[in-house]
Subunit: 223 residues, 2 copies
């Protein structure tokens, strides 16, 4: 299956926050729920999205934007393994997406016939947290092998994410990762965060994640 790739233009807008608010309002008016998905490289963003989309797509029409420095591997994987609309965004070396870049992706994918769009941001715990993409909500995926100390070392991304997914819990017996300690550290950064431990590989607890999005989207569209 062919996948379109877009080379994003650098943003011309000085005021990204303002631009992000305008985009968020526009999405709200169209009833499109945009999720900004952030994580380290290799935390399982693509695997989690494929598993999640295959469940949500029974109810919702879904689009996916895969941002990467280079390569099309993620968009191709998503296109092959789900029946969502997917597009690859190339950031031309940049370490994050801003609101204007996100809007270029949305224009390309076309949102008129979509309910939910997932934006897979560049794998990075620093820069993506600093730029509001205009998304309806921000989520991050922390994986067990990365260690339970990450909320201490990368505060901003945990502050900003209203949902933190702890992925690869099937690997817990293999790593020294204290889930309760990690949850405490996450809540120290953002006391309102929802924390959902899952394994995208074995599908453990995926139902809870699906329920979370189902509730959020219904609330958003007042259905």
């Amino acid at each position: 299956m062919g996948v379109r790739t877009i080379l994003l233009q650098k943003s011309v807008f000085e005021d990204n926050d303002n631009q992000a608010n305008i985009l968020r309002e526009k999405l709200k008016n169209k009833g499109v729920f945009l999720v900004n998905v952030m994580s380290s490289p290799g935390a399982g963003k693509t695997t989690t999205l494929i598993n999640l989309i295959n469940r949500l797509s029974k109810t919702y029409r879904i689009g996916v934007m895969e941002a990467d420095i280079d390569s099309d591997v993620d968009a191709i994987k998503v296109a092959e393994k789900t029946n969502s609309k997917s597009v690859q965004l190339h950031t031309d070396g940049m370490c994050h997406l801003d609101a204007a870049m996100t809007e270029q992706g949305l224009d390309e994918i076309g949102i008129e016939d979509l309910d939910i769009v997932f934006l897979e941001n560049v794998g990075n715990l620093v820069c993506p947290a600093e730029y509001d993409t205009g998304a309806t909500m921000d989520m991050m995926i922390l994986s067990v092998p990365e260690g339970d100390d990450k909320p201490l070392k990368y505060p901003l991304i945990f502050q900003k994410s209203s949902l933190v997914v702890i992925n690869k819990i099937d690997a817990l017996p293999y790593f020294n990762f204290d889930v309760e300690k990690c949850k405490k550290s996450i809540l120290m950064r953002n006391k309102n965060a929802t924390i959902i431990p899952i394994s995208a590989k074995t599908s453990e607890n995926m139902d809870e994640l699906v329920k979370f999005f189902d509730n959020k989207v219904k609330e958003y569209t007042n259905k």
Copy 2:
């Protein structure tokens, strides 16, 4: 054990490459071998360094600079578990170190009585690759749970690193990671890269890593 923490000043130098070359020359004249260590968050930079330093410090005098957005956890861990000189560098939100920031750290730690200095860069596969720190050599650590596709997705950091350590090989039975395929992708980015698979946790193959540095440092100082 107390650990000094420095809040780095933003670089005033326009020409980082020139600044980096000056620093590299200065280090060469003093016979100090500076290693810039890059990886994703949670790939095992600190654990690898602690294991490596404890072996190398039988022969060499070693210093460690731990760069982080926030927190002192790494510098404290290194100070407790090795007898190296260690210092924490706070980047004040920045996602990388440049040559001037590296020099601030070196001035603080004091290099007159050191043979090798390890700079643990911010956990990030994008930005650190874009700035020459002035180090004698660049290495990166890729961990098995991150996946074997990383050289495809983050080309620059693999191009730039003359040593790629594949860490957490004790977890290979648990993850779908093809070492030979990964080695091929790394060599596609940099055909001269040395690739050493290890487990910093079980110490598997640490001897090869020690030997690599021993040879490099001897060659550098003509001993």
